[in-house]
């Protein structure tokens, strides 16, 4: 790596080499059986240079570093203008990334998958259970001509379980899972969650179109929070299509609402020591008590906006040039109550665990329309059964401003987001018939 940077420095003013190696060993159960044991190892290399004020870039795989410099030099003829110094050496935060508990051998992974499949199958003789248990070891290295030389390794554990039950033309498909740098009780929690959802989903109940109190569980909240993250994204702000472009410091939402991006949470899925450009990992309040507080920025969007990078210049899975992206997302709602209490307070409402197709809309308009992939009707504080063939429609900007009825004290991880259950009032549901 050092040789390449040294060589690049002879031909260009600045150079940076990003390298990531990933090894992963997933064990897959499909349709009640162990289906496959897999192993993958890959290495991605990405070279960024600045030649005569222009950016050049190229990537390769494996140990094929040799052609990168020529490719990047060619591309620099067309590259964007670049007048930023790449970051030099800086103290990196102490972030706990990997707990020894995630060091699992293959047999343990097989046993864990087996336990999940065995236990959820007890729910019904005809259901099909699938599971994926995996550990992933990643080493990230970044070296640049300004003297930054960083490296960190992390290992994450992933469990994903699913159930399919077909009865005539009625399908019940359920998913649950976690990703973490620390193995605790995620296996048991995944099993318990699947079993609970299965019990609630066994009976379908009719639902009428109308306005409802709707509770989004942490796994159902992703699509609802997405427009907020899209509007805060530095690229959308820089290019002028974020409606928040001139709203920094303005209170757009209820003061109950705070939203953070935090790459420093111990053992969280996307925690790191530095981003894909060598900026130290940090915590950023995107929304602070209802006020738009910060955008999510990498170096180049920060420069264009006259701000500082928030350490969110993350790379794509093939090492692509950094773009502003979220690390771990935390949603905080000020006033909370225990989940059980919140559920039992609902006279008539709906709880949504998963939406389908809601990502396909235009996030900058704040309008989220999605098919309710998994949702249950609540009556008099009790779950009555599953609702189907219906859509939910939320204007997220309005919802986070004046439709919040409550949030649960308990928070759960849904992949990279830590959030409570969120209860909203007067949410439109459209149903067949």
């Amino acid at each position: 790596m050092k040789d390449l940077i040294a060589k690049a420095k002879n031909q260009a003013q600045q150079a940076e080499l990003y390298q990531i190696t990933v090894t992963e060993t997933p064990v897959r159960y499909e349709n009640n059986k162990l289906k496959s044991v897999d192993a993958s190892s890959r290495q991605i290399n990405a070279l960024r240079i600045v030649k005569d004020g222009k950016l050049g870039f190229a990537t390769s795989t494996g140990d094929n570093l040799h052609p990168l410099l020529d490719m990047a030099m060619t591309n620099a003829q067309y590259g964007r203008d670049w007048d930023l110094p790449l970051p030099g050496p800086a103290p990196l935060p102490q972030v706990e990334l990997t707990h020894p508990s995630t060091e699992l051998d293959l047999d343990t992974q097989v046993e864990m998958g087996d336990k999940l499949v065995r236990q959820v199958r007890e729910c019904h003789p005809d259901l099909l259970a699938s599971a994926r248990v995996s550990t992933r070891q990643t080493t990230t290295r970044l070296l640049n001509s300004q003297g930054f030389a960083g490296e960190y390794s992390k290992r994450t554990f992933t469990i994903l379980g699913s159930i399919e039950l077909t009865e005539g033309k009625n399908f019940l498909s359920l998913y649950s899972g976690y990703m973490s740098g620390k193995l605790e009780d995620q296996l048991d929690k995944t099993i318990a969650d699947l079993v609970k959802k299965f019990e609630h989903g066994r009976n379908n109940v009719p639902v009428k179109s109308g306005k409802y109190t709707v509770i989004f569980s942490p796994s159902g909240l992703g699509d609802i929070v997405n427009p907020l993250l899209a509007c805060a994204n530095g690229l959308a702000v820089e290019k002028g299509f974020s409606p928040w472009k001139d709203k920094l410091g303005e209170k757009l939402f209820s003061e109950q609402v705070s939203l953070y991006d935090d790459a420093t949470i111990p053992f969280a899925p996307v925690s790191c020591l530095f981003d894909g450009e060598g900026i130290p990992a940090q915590s950023t309040a995107i929304i602070d008590k209802g006020v738009v507080n910060s955008f999510i920025l990498n170096m180049v969007t920060a420069k264009a906006l006259g701000l500082e990078s928030t350490g969110n210049g993350f790379r794509g899975s093939n090492g692509e040039l950094s773009a502003p992206d979220n690390s771990n997302v935390v949603l905080d709602i000020a006033e909370t109550q225990p989940l059980e209490e919140m559920l039992s307070s609902v006279e008539q409402g709906i709880i949504i665990h998963s939406l389908m197709g809601a990502w396909a809309g235009n996030p900058y308009g704040g309008q989220v329309n999605g098919n309710i992939d998994l949702g249950f009707l609540i009556e008099d504080g009790r779950i009555k059964g599953r609702i189907k063939d219906c859509m939910v429609s939320v204007n997220v900007f309005e919802a986070f401003n004046n439709q919040i009825l409550g949030a649960s004290t308990e928070k759960e991880w849904a992949w990279n987001m830590l959030a409570p259950h969120l209860m909203l009032r007067d949410i439109a549901i459209n149903a067949k018939g």
């Binding site: 993958s40 060619t74 290019k239």
Partner: protein
Amino acid sequence: MKDKLQALVSNKAADYLEIRIEESAVTSLRFRGPILEAVNTSLQYGGCIRALVNGGWGFITFNDVNDLEKKVAQAIHQAKLVGAAGADSKLAPVPVVEDVVHVPFLEDPRQVSLAEKVELFDSYNDIILSYGKQIVSSSINYFDKYSKIYFANSEGTYILQHKLDLAGNIAAMASDGSTTQMGRVGFGSSIDFGVARNLDAKVREACGKAINLLAAPSVRGGEYTVIVDPDLAGIFAHEAFGHLSESDFVYENPQLQAVMKLGTKFGGDFLNIYDSGLTAGARGYLKYDDEGVATEKTDLIKEGVLVGRLHTRETAAKMGERPTGNARALDYSFAPICRMRTTCIAPGEASLEDMLAGVKLGLYAKGSYGGETNGEMFTFSADEGYMIRDGKLAELVRDVNLTGNVFTTLGNIDMVGKDFTTRESAGGCGKGGQVPLPTSEWAPHMRIQNVLIGGK
């Protein structure tokens, strides 16, 4: 390469072995607003080995193509572990093939200089950014990927496929301060850079569309008679039926097999759906799948009746049916799974006027933003919609998201248009973490009764 790979897969410790080595070069461009933000060249080289032992699969993928014997041994070791746990995977027989496949180029993107590509997309960007003050930004993505894929299996099949996939998306963003709307032009091909040329008129049209959407109200939620344009009808074929035809969803599910029994009537006599690998030029075109099986045109629904489904060798063996060449992998880092190629609704006899006639209150939905299915229900988003009032197209509406139940919706299609349209986009299909896989969807206009639309 041939001798080396064939020697590797001759290891007798496995019941079946295959190896795939892939060498790709990707060029990509990205404009955001006036700035050419990224020009990237990427060289990708890697491989994978899949072993079957006593019904269990072991799969290994790597960039480092040294020590392949050791990797074969590891895949076999993993497969044994699975086989010993009672797995029962097996493969349907297919002909042994030796072949070298070349790309039948119309225009090879590798012969077009980077300078010319930059200039071409810059010219589209100029059209957008000079269109008018409501256009606030642009977003242009382009890539071309040229791959050489070597495949050998322990049955004697050896194939070298040269493949091209290229696609792009040109988007204009309009804003009025409170909302941002988009108009887009997509293109794609497996043989021709020419599809990226001569798009000026379409780019202008996309700009106008984005601006018009700013003032359009959101559609009112409810049930409507919906006419979908060929773009959306194609996505419908893919989401609302295609995924259910993928046999890995069905082959170990006896309850679903009863529902998806061949011979079952799903739609009107005018409804014909098929999936084909033979569509030269389409992004979904491929001569052989990633198990070395020759592709074909597979009829799925003929005159409203279920007549076929999409198979890998494993799903075909288990269901006692014929492999159809639908085992596809995103790249060397994935094992092949059951996927679509080019999914089509065959033309019917109706004109758009026929479809509009008699619709008192309905919606004409145009352009696809993407869709999703969970097997039973599907959803997709349109770029824009027009209300239909008393048989005539009326006002423009936005935020059009359609949903339905796969089984009832197929039966609710009451007209299929005669204007069959081939269409390629920059999007791709996602399944099992393998995204975006190039697929194509071709269809005519179509009318569907009782479609649920989200909204207030």
